[in-house]
């Protein structure tokens, strides 16, 4: 019977796989917003659970890094906990929940509220990397559209939204144009987060495992949300303050608190909310962390 005891390599992936991913990452950085095909490996977690992000993080991690993992903006969501644990186990890497202390942040669906710095890398988990996919299901076609810079269909779709609803009916995974060339899917972040991608000091890397694509936005790169002169892009958030820390400018989760339809709004970024409470900010339902 096969020997079942074995040690895994640093950061799980074998070195040849890491080299393959690293080469793809460098080309991704050199061609901002372009999706580089890579031979995504089968990871010990399901497709859709962040296998692309995990492979990118594994290829970038050094023993000196401090890793933060968030899902929905929170460090304690089960999948974030599971991925953080995976890297603690396989790379023996230091972890943190504090955005400012992290050198690599792997995220699903959010960009932290706190502005990122030049020393940081933000790794996005991406389900469908192709922004044109919902217009054209065939990869062979969308690849041609990118090659020819033929993005008219996308504008037509967005304009049809406006004609029908008075708005562009896309609230998350809102398409962006990178450095004036490639239209890119920012991953399913709420469009509230889109402006944070523009001219960001941190390096932004995107991994889509099942779809076998890696792409990147280098630091200080122009990232523009698609819009029209008469219908400019609007970020949008719930018109409330955080009930715990009182923040009036953060992205909010809506929490149902009783069966009478009562609800409260709290920061989706748990580290941001805690940091504010520790600094003495209090919302309508909260008390400062020190007293809680």
């Amino acid at each position: 019977m096969t020997d079942m005891s074995q040690d895994y390599n640093f950061a799980y992936l074998d070195e040849q796989t890491k080299r393959m991913i690293r080469r793809a990452l460098l080309k991704a950085v050199a061609i901002p917003g372009y999706q580089v095909p890579f031979a995504s490996r089968e990871m010990p977690m399901p497709y859709g659970w962040g296998t692309g992000g995990v492979q990118v993080t594994a290829a970038c991690l050094t023993p000196e890094d401090r890793l933060k993992v968030i899902d929905q903006g929170a460090d304690d969501t089960t999948n974030a906990v599971s991925i953080r644990k995976f890297f603690e186990r396989t790379a023996d890497v230091a972890v943190t929940e504090a955005t400012s202390e992290a050198s690599i942040i792997q995220t699903r669906h959010r960009i932290p509220e706190q502005a990122l710095s030049e020393e940081q890398i933000l790794v996005y988990q991406v389900p469908i990397p192709e922004p044109l996919r919902f217009l054209e299901p065939r990869e062979s076609e969308t690849r041609k559209m990118h090659a020819l810079e033929e993005y008219g269909l996308m504008h037509v779709k967005l304009y049809e939204d406006i004609a029908k609803n008075g708005h562009i009916a896309t609230a998350f995974a809102y398409p962006v144009k990178v450095e004036g060339r490639y239209v890119m899917d920012p991953s399913p972040i709420p469009k509230f987060d889109n402006p944070k991608m523009d001219d960001c000091p941190a390096l932004q890397l995107f991994g889509a495992g099942r779809e076998q694509r890696i792409y990147a936005v280098p630091p200080f790169t122009k990232v523009v949300s698609l819009d029209f002169e008469d219908h400019p892009f609007e970020a949008g958030r719930a018109a409330h303050d955080c009930a715990l820390c009182g923040a009036g400018d953060s992205y909010l989760d809506e929490v149902i608190i009783d069966d009478e339809g009562g609800r409260m709004f709290v920061c989706s970024d748990t580290d941001h909310c805690r940091t504010r409470r520790e600094a003495g900010h209090t919302g309508a339902l909260g008390v400062p962390e020190a007293f809680a």
Partner: protein, 188 residues
Amino acid sequence: MQAETLSGGFADTARDAARAFRAVLDAMARPGSIHEMAGAAPPAPLSPAAGAVALTLCDPETPVWLAPSLATPEVEGWLRFHTGAPLGPREAAQFAFGSWEELAPLTDFPIGTAEFPDRSATLVVGLPGLAPAGARLTGPGIREAAALSLPEAEAFARNAALYPLGLDFIFTAGSRLAALPRTTRVEG
């Protein structure tokens, strides 16, 4: 096989390669920034930084072109032993190592295709020195402008004009390294 062939690789393969890659990634993401590349001791005239690049990125899947000055039995043997990369012509190279003079003219390296602009060569250029002075760099990865001691400006401007196709460059001098992706605008 000579002792030199077997030695000079990364002592702790996974961790040394991880650190070296982060230096290259940071260099490519922030054109003009200069980084220290530790861990490799290849036979001369391949520089320690160029050797570390090879150990980090080259393997049996990446055809490599070696400039005549580097194509010594020692360097070839070292590369073959430590990376397994096949040596081949310029037209097929995924990585090319050499001095600026030897790499010119740049026209016969792969620059990618309209559908796959990533299928282009990365040139690892050995320079006598690297300093944050000289050519003015602007573009993605650069806050306002950066400066780097490039051998010339014109070739890079021509390369940038091919965008999104084009070559990407890694510059090495001793144990130091900088990079220039095809997006960078270079002015003399």
